[in-house]
């Protein structure tokens, strides 16, 4: 017998602490596979967020830094400017990137900082118990929008990959989902391309990954994948929004 699916060497043996069905596990795995397949394990430095994945460094066999909520792109800027030949990434949830850290995210892209951001968007604040996020949908019930998000009071969700794609310094912007095996493979491809864009020195690369939060959505893991597809997946722009070959040269 021959093993045709095995765990990436980028991840260690520690069991994930995430909730049953949480897609962080899938995204960590494809991220790890990309790092291993690109043969950059020894030169990659990750920057962890504050959120459910605030302990993500525990699972990866690479150098990691972790700072304050939202500030990962600033930290990554410091690391990459200090060590330009290393590969640097941030991994951030919707509170970390789209709320408190929006300035750091946009300006890192604007400056064309040569690191990669993986944006994990599940339209809710998981770690702190399910409050509304800047990416929560109108009508979505959360701990701080118990009657459903009211656009009159709380405005509309931010389509972050769409916003990032308008920034000239962003060389690669993709928006993917992990709701089906086929989409998981597409997501992995996008993440791999994002890292390649960094390695080739084109500029800032960004991959938004639509994800689930079964616990705070109040659904089973399989129901969550369906809700993701039918709701977040229909509101947010998906696809490869920007890439070096698609960008017009000046």
């Amino acid at each position: 017998m021959k093993q045709i699916f095995e765990k990436t060497k980028a991840l260690n043996d520690k069991p994930f602490h995430y909730c049953p069905g949480c897609t962080h596990g899938i995204i960590h795995r494809i991220l790890g596979e990309v790092i291993e397949e690109l043969d950059i394990l020894a030169k990659t430095i990750g920057v962890a967020p504050v959120g459910c994945s605030g302990f993500m460094e525990q699972y990866f066999n690479i150098d990691f830094q972790g700072g304050a909520h939202g500030r990962a792109p600033a930290i990554a800027t410091g690391i990459k400017r200090a060590l330009p030949d290393k590969v640097v990434f941030t991994y951030q949830g919707d509170g970390d990137l789209a709320s408190i850290g929006i300035a750091e995210a946009i300006h890192a892209a604007a400056r064309g900082e040569k690191f990669t951001t993986i944006f994990v968007n599940n339209g809710i604040y998981g770690m702190t118990g399910g409050q509304m996020a800047p990416t929560s949908l109108v009508g979505q019930k959360t701990a701080t929008s118990p009657m459903g998000r009211d656009a009159a009071l709380a405005g509309y969700p931010l389509d972050i990959p769409l916003i990032m794609s308008t920034i000239r310094g962003a060389a690669y912007v993709a928006s993917v989902s992990v709701d089906t095996p086929q989409n998981v493979l597409k997501a992995k491809k996008a993440i791999k391309k994002a890292f390649q864009v960094q390695i080739e020195g084109h500029g800032y690369s960004f991959v938004s990954v639509l994800s689930t939060c079964p616990t705070n959505w109040g659904m089973s893991p399989t129901e969550s994948l369906d809700w993701l597809r039918d709701n977040l997946g229909t509101y947010y722009t998906l696809g490869e929004l920007k890439s070096p070959e698609k960008t017009r040269s000046v």
């Binding site: 017998m1 021959k2 045709i4 699916f5 994930f16 089906t180 095996p181």
Partner: protein, 84 residues
């Protein structure tokens, strides 16, 4: 049971200590080779099992979707024909 003609043998192993019983693997499996065990693991989750390895087509969908990376996929036949 699937109508697909299977030429090769495949099977999966699921680490029952890592499985959190999320059932995503069962929901994506195209040949219904997976189901949930009636016995809880050490943490109280009911893990997934491959009750019918003979139906496995090695498509990797379960392994691709497992958030705990508890599934390994193999070409060939398992050592025991019953569920692993």
């Amino acid at each position: 049971m699937s109508n697909m003609k299977k030429k090769k043998d495949f099977y999966v192993t699921i680490d029952e200590d890592l499985c959190k019983g999320c059932m995503i693997c069962v929901s994506v499996c195209p040949t219904e080779t997976l189901s949930m065990s009636k016995n809880p693991n050490k943490k109280g989750y009911y893990p997934a099992i491959q009750h019918a390895p003979v139906a496995c087509i090695g498509c990797n969908k379960c392994a691709l979707m497992c958030p705990e990376i508890s599934i390994r996929v193999f070409k060939g036949q398992p050592l025991h024909q019953e569920a692993i």
